[in-house]
Point group: D2
Chain length 311, copies 4
């Protein structure tokens, strides 16, 4: 297996990035950084009992990447299942007239507020820890790195309010956040970043959510320097109020989506998109207990999420 994952034909001058620092068979990636002690310390941040909701509602009308969609139809048993009921109980099943509704949903989890699995992005045909398409891809999903392998996440969260620091409602598409700027903001906020943290960037871009064309035309975000900084700081996951992660157009126009690709594939660092960071920014909350649990659908490349920030 290791032989099969041997370096060969890596694009763009890449050298093998595997085994990862968490081991050759690791699928947890940066979530390994969340130690029990860090969980306990994060829980200690809860002093007011206020819970913030970082998710946006998903329906057919949200902005979406080409080819992606979400569709839901409601189905009721009340009319359809009459034949399963004794006659005379037209209003529902049993004397208690129980009825139920279900939905049929169809679409992709790579839409709305989402967590990307480490099986979403590739460098060429390789994933995190060097696995190739042929190693893990099946018709129904991936046999490794699927979103069901991601455990519930509870850790310390830090909001980096870049829009406030710049004194703007929102950054511009293509704006790149620098390491110097990041460190300056963290210093001003008195929120040093520690291993195992969830680091969320507020760019203000989410205020364009309703304007699909403007929202999707680009986005501000970090560049490769901050990406490297996050890896060195050993953060557990990161995210922003943008539809991808990292500035678009990217710093190097010939290398689109290089930031999330590098974080996911080379470092196993988890990324969240379309976070409603404004609820924290508006309340000037920069440090919190971050909690995320999600649907464990086998082999999925992402999850539609609504993480909690608790103070």
């Amino acid at each position: 297996m290791l032989a099969e994952r041997a370096p060969a034909n890596l694009p763009d001058g890449q050298v093998p990035w595997w085994p990862s620092r968490y081991g050759r068979d690791d699928q947890l990636g940066s979530l390994n950084e969340i130690t029990p002690a860090h969980v306990v310390a994060a829980a200690r941040l809860v002093r007011e009992g206020e819970v913030f909701d970082l998710g946006r509602i998903l329906d057919s009308n949200v902005p979406r990447f080409p080819g992606r969609f979400w569709q839901q139809t409601l189905v009721s048993n009340a009319h359809l299942n009459n034949q399963r009921r004794p006659q005379g109980t037209e209003g529902g099943w049993g004397k208690n007239q129980v009825n139920w509704l279900i939905e049929l949903a169809t679409g992709t989890f790579q839409i709305g507020t989402q967590l990307d699995g480490l099986n979403h992005l590739q460098i060429g045909d390789r994933f995190y820890n060097g696995w190739r398409t042929r190693d893990i891809v099946e018709d129904w999903g991936t046999s490794k790195l699927g979103i069901e392998t991601v455990p519930p996440i509870m850790t310390r969260g830090v909001l980096v309010d870049v829009a406030r620091a710049r004194g703007v409602a929102r950054l511009q598409a293509g704006d790149v956040i620098s390491v110097e700027e990041l460190e300056s903001i963290l210093g001003a906020q008195k929120t040093p970043v520690r291993p195992g943290d969830a680091v969320l960037f507020h760019t203000g871009w989410g205020s364009l959510w309703e304007d699909h064309e403007a929202f999707g035309a680009g986005e501000p975000g970090i560049g490769m320097a901050v990406a490297q900084w996050l890896v060195e700081k050993r953060v557990a996951l990161t995210g922003a109020d943008t539809w991808s992660y990292g500035a678009v157009p990217s710093e190097d126009p010939e290398r689109p989506f290089l930031v999330p690709q590098t974080l996911n594939v080379k470092h196993g660092l988890f990324i969240m998109e379309n976070l409603a960071t404004e609820v924290l920014a508006n309340a000037s909350v920069y440090e919190f207990l971050f909690c995320l649990t999600h649907h464990k659908t086998r082999g999925s490349t992402g999850a539609v999420i609504a993480p909690a920030a608790v103070i």
Copy 2:
């Protein structure tokens, strides 16, 4: 609107159950019981930093109620989107050869480990707080009580290990848990139930998960007496390791699913199904921080979940 929701033709001798104790326009139901102070107290339960995962993995092969299904297919950009790439970059997009996978999923959220919305069950054609089908049902979902109205949940959790108390691997289908038994177990566990708690029942039924026929043929659970007890104790939500909630066949065979129907519709009390309670039972964990965040898909009747229990 209130006039429209006036009592009329209620089945089974029901008297109007609305407005609920949380107000006539309330959609939060029992989650109103989770006070900031209770959140703070719950967070204090985290002393070891260990996180338990209460969700089961969802795929096409899980046990399912008639008419429900889950299906997923993986889609890759690598082959399909070649035409969007400059020639000469066969291995991926850009010099960095970025590729991505997405899934197409289709099915219902009323499957697997799930949280039921207050728009799932009805008495006749009425929901919680007296809303009728005509008041809230749309093609795409419900305009009130949809799963997107449920906020992130963080509260104290209590596991009631009934199987251990009875000295069995699992209870039998139709077995009813009594109030006396419940109170005895809570006393032995030293885990009194408080307003705002999440109360989870471990019956051992989940050990049949792989045997679809046996698993779906019935289930043990609480009866109407414990249901009433939970309402009086003002718990915020409850759940079990069974596919529905409450004994099946039900205490009164002419009133199927009366327990969840009563809790959801009359009291707005939230229910979770197919919880992997054995991970707590095996570790003898009876009190914990309970955390649940989920996909906020508009108008859905439920969410596929994997809640966390943290100690």
Copy 3:
């Protein structure tokens, strides 16, 4: 069973319309009118060997009734199934490098150019031949009258070019075609209608196909008088270049969709919608061999079709 279908609570002063003239257990409805002799005679109409296509292309962007949709995604094996191939055959499976594409489609067949099954419309909760919801409705479809019960159709076709007769590009929404007008047109066209025929109406409404708002705002069509005429003439099926069949708004605004409801439910007369009748009108073709074969998906309420007219 007959007892179960006994008349009771019929709406709007209806008297039982069953058993139909084709028998109490009949599911074929008006298609019974197509005799072998009529098929032979219809085939004799082919003298030039020219085939006209009466279907419109279906994709996500066609006009659609509220709540209905069509969505398709392409899936390739070429990238995904690499793991099933011996190493060294990166370009496809086997030395012949076979690859394949499939689509995932999702939506309803009640969209685009379509044939309605006799299980689509109801009077109250009753279908053709008096079957009720409880008699035939299942989660997955209907156990009777589904579109798979419709055989391949080959018969004589007649186009009624109402737009030409009126000297307009298209009729207006709500315009009702009268019996006198119909008979006048048939006389001028020299195309008498015979039992077993497919009678298609060209109103010109299809020219609004690209303008979803205008197209869906209403439609011209026949009224109840012509509907009765078609029944008396014992035609096998009928259709038009409109999204429903019959004028909208309907003659009696308090009885929406009364024309197709009456034809389908009371008489078992099949209806087609969104036919591209302009291809015949433009070629002045009024009599032809009509041929329709369709997807026999079990229990479906309709079929997406593209019938042929051959001269």
Copy 4:
């Protein structure tokens, strides 16, 4: 464009197979062979007015290739759309109480009785007429060669009853039909093959339809010699009562699906699968009018069909 389709890196010693004999931009392939005169002659075969149905019913339980599925759920307006109706009309919309059912279907058209588009199979990454993936593949389907480009088909049909000729109920998996055998059968049947014909092979394999494992384990069929013969005879389309077309395992085990791949990609010859040929074989019908109309869903790789054979 032609330059872009220039020969390069063709697998397996292939030389460019384009432009096809129908022209470099042709998408009709072998259907070009159906001349008006041939249509007229085919219609003349109708002497009895009997219509045979060559389609199998499609539902969730049919045999299927790995990764393919079909799922349908019925949806009723009767319960859901109450809110759109004036009060007092609980039984349906309007005084006429109209109700309707629709289905939500999801799956692939590469299942059941089907017609393959020329965009289904590839040699490496090339289709018929040399188009490559990058030339025609989009997220939603293919921009050329999609099933909507296939017109209604009316032509002469010939059944080749191989099972009868061999005196068996069905041939064995891997059995190859030879040119000599084919010509012998055609001679005995007095059904010479002419340009533009639809040539259908009855192998008896369809009798295993209910036994998914046996049915899918392999199949009898033609080999490359008969494939070449069909091309030379300029037939318009061909098909069989098997899940693919051509013997499986194939004559050359290192070249799976070489027969349909060659016919589709190199020659643009259309193929149908899972035909219910036994209805013709049982009636000893070997020559007939073949008629096929199908759903014109944009960019699809196939259609679920039920062709008609008329005598």
